[in-house]
Symmetry: C2
Subunit: 252 residues, 2 copies
């Protein structure tokens, strides 16, 4: 709650630059009651989305899968408020699991597979999740997931998941972003970058910051101008309708 | 032990086709004593490598990282026998973690990061690991790992890890294999495929088996003939010296 108040304060100070998404008071033994209340409070303050942690225990994956009924009351509130969630774990309490180098990408990948294995979006057709770090391992293994959907007798990924799941571009080299934009439909890729993020240095080979992801998108020659507009702006306005409304209210 | 005996039996029946690698009697509460004995027994039977499970608990990542002293007696035996290990988890006991779609790729990624964070290959300069499934998420996030090595004040990946870590080609679509072979040095990529593996079906778009990985390597136009020879044969002979000796003894 205090962190979200701080975010609201930053947004109030720099309204031309920022809009808020909230974190949630999740805990290994808690249900989602307090998170629902905090989401409502933050949306009332003008926030446009939230971060949902699929493993609040921090690195041992003890929580039920994202398709479990445990999460449903929260999803109902997300749908009611029309806000998406980024599925992103937090700190690692596991000495075998480095947070930004192991845990994050593992959790992204596991989350996607939980959703593939279930039928969550039949129950919540308008629920929307963003999986960060370019979807973890998923686009690199896109054939594997297409094949697993087939083996598990699920519909094609395009209808089974890709009306509801989106990936960001936080992949810190050009070949990765090129694969992402080649394999995953452009409508499912949202521009993402970091500042004071996981990888803070400059590439010694190029002198550029590893996490300056716009360069990698710019260098994807196969993207049309319409694709670029979708990745940099259009998709975000569609996935975060409250962002779109907020910008339109400013005449943008 | 019974499974390894069965593998030895298959090798004896089809010596022109197969050579053995062994599994190990690992268990969540056991040390590596029995695994060391079984590795010795299998190498005595002509096996050329082993499979090492970094998470014998099956999906909650409770084991110490691969850089921990827990593993050292086993590594000493690997070095003595000059056999590499594939780092590959087994079944998942976690309902939130689908084995082939979530757990495997997560474990591959976490293992690589454990090795990046430590200095294991300073202690064991000739120890060799194969990380399956094309390295999990690692090649897709190669910039992230280069940047993390830099942040953690480790040497460049080329010397810190890539004399000792190798990836297979079990990535089930061409763009993934192309990324792998573009980003990771050719000397670190070993041809791998599956039969009765994770993804058994045919791609409805092409009619081809998802796990027929040779097609994806063949389609990588940037690879020279020397690169292809390295990926299909040369690297395996170098990483598995007992395979090389075995083939040479047959005049191959």
């Amino acid at each position: 709650m205090r962190c979200n108040d701080l975010i609201a304060r930053v947004v109030a100070l720099f309204p031309e630059t920022f809009v808020g998404v909230c974190m949630l008071p999740q805990s290994p033994k808690a249900d989602m009651t307090n998170s629902i209340a905090e989401l409502e409070r933050c949306v009332d303050m003008g926030f446009i989305g939230c971060n949902l942690n699929p493993d609040p225990g921090g690195g041992h994956f003890q929580h039920p899968p994202l398709t479990d009924r445990y999460w449903y009351p929260f999803y109902e509130k997300m749908v009611e408020l029309d806000v998406p969630a980024m599925i992103h774990v937090s700190g690692s309490c596991n000495p075998a699991m480095h947070a930004t180098g192991g845990y994050y990408l593992a959790a992204d990948t596991v989350a996607f597979m939980q959703l593939l294995e279930g039928d969550l979006f039949k129950d919540f057709p308008t629920l929307r999740f963003i999986i960060p770090h370019g979807g973890g391992a998923v686009p690199y293994h896109w054939g594997r997931y297409r094949g697993l959907a087939d083996m598990l007798k699920k519909p094609d990924l395009s209808t089974h998941l890709m009306n509801n799941i989106f990936f960001d571009t936080c992949v810190y080299h050009h070949p990765g972003v090129e694969l992402l934009t080649k394999v995953v439909p452009t409508s499912n890729v949202l521009f993402g970058s970091e500042m004071i993020g996981a990888v803070r240095g400059r590439d010694p080979d190029t002198g550029e910051y590893f996490d300056d992801t716009k360069r990698y998108v710019d260098a994807c020659e196969a993207l049309s101008e319409a694709d670029r507009h979708a990745i940099f702006e259009g998709n975000a306005r569609r996935v975060y309708p409250r962002l779109d409304a907020h910008l339109k209210a400013k005449g943008l």
